[in-house]
Amino acid sequence: MTDKAEAAAIARRGQQLTLALASAIRTGAYYDEGNTVMRQAVSSLARVLAEASAENGAVSVGIRSHCVFVDKVRVPTSVSTYERFTFLVQLFDVWSITEMTFNAGLSDSELMSALLLVSREQPVQGGPGLSTLLTTKGVEYIVVEEIVQAEDEAESVGPGPLEVSAIVAYSAAMQLGGELGKVAGSIEPGMVRRVRHVTQAVVDEIIRDPASVLSLTTIKDYDKYLVLHSTNVAVLSTVLGQRLGLSKARLGELCLAGFLHDAGKLGVDPDILQKPTELDDREWEQMRRHPLLAAYALLGKQRLTASNMRAVVVAFEHHLNHDLSGYPATEIKKSVSLFGSIVSIADVFDALTTARVYRDINFTPADAMVEVIKRSGTGFDPVLVKLFAQVMGLYPPGTVVVLTGGEAGVVCRPPAVGLPLDRPKVRIVVGEEPGVVRDLYERNGSGFVRDILAVLNPSNQGQMPAVDPEVLRLLN
């Protein structure tokens, strides 16, 4: 194992190479070979590659489990690199490759050819793989490792393993949330361990494809609010944490903390929890105790591991505002912890997007996002709010929108990383092609093919499911 300083240097070099590669490929999508910008991007990348391959005669960039590796060393991601890393992961996925190896002696012209190929062309099903295409372009010093797809996989239709796994993980978390809701008093150690395993599965799915899991949080059912809420808060928190660049272990802790944040409600009178109308003062007084009760419940029988400690902290803090107003009242706290800040945003967002009988008008996800943004600085950490908006878009999944052209549908995916926040993907529900997904970033000359005309709130339910029900039917 290399020592810390050497490891940090390797990580930095890996990051530099990954960013240069991603930038150069994206540049290739917009600029031609003769363009100065493109030439500069290529020569910049070539320099980095030459340096990286000097020692071993080659350098490889690989993708495994949605993580980037340079010469088999994992390159950590952060908020500033997330966009380009994600781009590279998706590009490799599109081309069905796991690794690109750049050999010493690679010329600028070969590199240019390769970059333009991957950025501008699309793989054709049944057609030649990237390796063959590179060869036909005369690229010899770049070798790719392609994923060999089994025959039955190639022919299968319906949901891929990706979507199945997300649904399985989510439904497992949902079921566990239901079991947790039946437990009175403190949470047994065995239960926490189960929660940990299930939340790890959720984290794995979020790392693979955050949008898949995010869409599941839009399946709101009033009767099951308490059961679903803990899962949704866990998911929303983890998605935000992933964008922050938290490590997998920290994401596991965050997901667990998000899942258990309302453990204190186990000690609150169920009649108060399920009251369909607004609470009176006495009832509010009881409700305000639940963060303390949650902390006690989690302290009760658990060993004090880092993850359990963070769960206690989050349970205590999740109704504390960024400016330390809110509840419970504090005397010595100087700030809300990072995890507490993340979970409080997720908690409020999920609560706002859940229809309540006592509200005259329920929030659409777009409304909820506006509300979250409004509370930036007082209620929520302003930087985290911005990041949350980047993750969810201005029209988060579950928003019902009417598009120019007369179609209406539900936002099913937020905008891809780096794209405008008001350009999500929409699954059409009302229109000529129900079920089809429209990418609002799709261009038509200098403009866009479609725009959002209006946001709807059908039956005053606020949020609509962003999941295609057919996917769920096929699973069964």
Partner: protein
């Protein structure tokens, strides 16, 4: 039909399992960098990489006590202890796979996790979580869970429920609804208060300004990266939350037990890490809450007392020796504040620790004018080790506990003279009517130092009633054979307690005799003792001694006279 693995493959997998077992045992027995441990790990790495390179991935099935490959047993071990299959099975792992390109560090991480699997229960962690946190890319494992990997019916029911909800909800969206929504009021209308959504959809202008308001600047990105890099340890946030909770005054069915345990753990970790800031914060909060009556008396001592063990305390004191002077002083002040709550640990360290500097620091912390409560010291006074008893006696000095003289009386018969000497010193501090009889008893001790200390103390605290005990020792034949120090002490006490009645005896001691002169030390001591008697006869005797032919006697007498005059001058003034 189950595939039968070719024998070469099976044999290779068997070797992997054997190597894994040896590597596991190696790490259990030796540190990771020990040659034996390293060799066993290297053997495992070679066997795994060789197999996956030549024969492809390895998929193992984990049974309760054995490992299977292609339904054939490739590993088993007698009993559950040290049985790799059991370790994994117990934590829910049912399958383990090694894939091509598996890295040596991944294999080592796996074995390391296995070697610590038994320790994980103590911290409520589990093997699957450890492996998950390692992010092993080329090693996969399957964890059983009713919903994740089994329980088809349960899962199907849950997913069906989701599907129905989705279908029902989406059914509410129809062309009529869309038209109605566009026509008027289908989306949010203006409401009162903060919790109502805004009026109408967000138009392009508003979208634009919103998008701008949430755009991440470079400064934001740098701040985020700093937040993530600096994100506090779980313990720091946890400690603050606990300190908030203890002030909240919320009554719970389980009472304070969980809080005390958790806070105690926080203190333990602060001490282990040398985190004086954290420890100081905890102390301040505990003191404040007890002072305000918001926490019952004894709460703080319960927290701190549980946390501070002799071993932990010793380590902290050792760390103080390596810290800067400022930091060391700070730590010492903190320990001083905690002193009353950690007597058992302090005394335990004093008793058990071999490091002189540690004991010195502990003694300094323990010494106090009010002394240490007797309940902590009496058990130590029954210890079989003389130095333990000695230290306990020393620390008991200044105590007003009525039990103390009883203990000291018993210890006057202690076999070790060093203990008995300390007892005398403590009696000297006690003084008065409680100590004098015991001091008198000690005049017969077999140890000269004990006798000397006792008689000196008796001279200060005794009265006329104790003169006889001193006199009895002075008038023995072997008295003059004692050391000069003892002679001086006894004769001084003799003079102080007996006053003028002792002048004749003292005169006989210093004057020359016809047949054999007494030893010089005795004569000198007698002259010095005469100086303590404020009587004319004593002064006359000293005057006579000052004119004797013995130069040393002359000096001693002259000095005694001068001291007597100055005492007399002080008395007059």
């Amino acid at each position: 039909m189950d595939r039968m693995a070719p024998s070469a493959e099976r044999e290779s997998v068997g070797k992997i399992c054997t190597a894994m077992h040896h590597a596991y045992r190696g790490l259990r027995l030796f540190p990771a960098d020990h040659p034996s441990a390293r060799q066993s790990i290297d053997t495992l790495v070679n066997s795994v990489t060789s197999h996956v390179e030549n024969m492809g991935p390895v998929h193992l099935q984990i049974d309760e006590m054995r490992v299977l490959y292609e339904n054939e047993q490739v590993y088993s071990y007698e009993g559950s202890r040290d049985n790799l299959a059991f370790l994994m099975f117990r934590d829910g792992i049912r399958a383990l796979s090694f894939h091509p390109d598996v890295e040596p560090w991944e294999i080592e991480a796996l074995v390391d996790a296995l070697s610590h699997a038994d320790d994980l229960g103590d911290i409520d962690h589990d093997l699957a979580t450890t492996l998950w946190e390692h992010e092993l890319i080329h090693i996969e494992y399957e964890v059983v869970d009713p919903f994740l990997t089994g329980g088809r019916e349960l899962r199907a029911a849950a997913i069906e429920e989701l599907r129905e909800t989705v279908a029902r909800r989406l059914g509410e969206l129809s062309p009529a609804n869309v038209a109605a929504g566009l026509g008027g009021g289908g989306f949010g209308a203006a409401g009162e208060g903060d919790d109502n959504p805004q009026d109408g959809p967000v138009g392009p202008a508003e979208e634009g300004s919103q998008a701008e308001s949430v755009a991440l600047s470079q400064a934001d990105i740098e701040m985020i990266e700093q937040i993530v890099a600096d994100s506090s340890e779980a313990l720091d946030d946890f400690a603050v939350v606990l300190l908030e909770i203890i002030g909240a005054g919320l009554e719970t069915p389980e009472g304070d037990d969980a809080l005390i345990q958790a806070l105690s753990l926080v203190c333990q970790q602060c001490m282990d890490l040398g985190n004086t800031d954290g420890l100081s914060l905890v102390l301040e909060r505990l003191e404040a809450l007890e002072g305000e009556g918001r926490r019952p008396a004894g709460f703080a001592s319960g927290v701190i007392g549980d946390a501070v063990t002799p071993a932990r305390l010793a380590k902290l004191i050792e760390r103080m020796g390596q810290a800067s002077m400022q930091e060391a002083e700070r730590m010492e002040r903190l320990l001083g504040r905690m002193r009353e709550w950690i007597y058992p640990a302090l005394l335990g360290t004093l008793v058990e620790n071999n490091d002189k500097s540690v004991r010195k620091t502990v003694l300094a912390l323990l010494h106090t004018e009010s002394g240490i409560p007797g309940q902590y010291l009496w058990p130590l006074m029954h210890d079989t080790r003389w130095y333990v008893v000695r230290n306990a006696v020393q620390l008991a000095r200044g105590s007003t506990d009525p039990e103390l003289p009883v203990q000291l009386e018993r210890l006057l018969r202690h076999p070790d003279e060093r203990v008995r000497r300390e007892v005398i010193r403590s009696l000297d501090v006690i003084g008065g009517a409680r100590a004098a009889p015991l001091l008198a008893r000690a005049l017969q001790d077999e140890d000269a130092a004990v006798r000397t200390l006792a008689v000196r103390s008796l001279g200060r605290h005794g009265n006329r009633g104790h003169f006889a005990a001193v006199s009895a020792r002075v008038e023995t034949r072997e008295f003059e054979t004692r050391s000069s120090e003892e002679l001086e002490a006894f004769l001084q006490a003799f003079a102080l307690l007996g006053g003028e009645t002792t002048i004749d005896t003292l005169n006989k001691m210093w004057k020359r005799r016809f047949f054999g002169t007494r030893p010089l030390p005795l004569r000198l001591a007698a002259v010095q003792a005469l100086g303590l008697i404020p009587a004319r006869a004593a002064r006359d005797s000293l005057g006579e001694a000052a004119k004797s032919n013995d130069a040393q006697l002359q000096k001693a007498a002259a000095r005694a006279l001068a001291q007597g005059q100055s005492r007399g001058g002080e008395a007059r003034s």
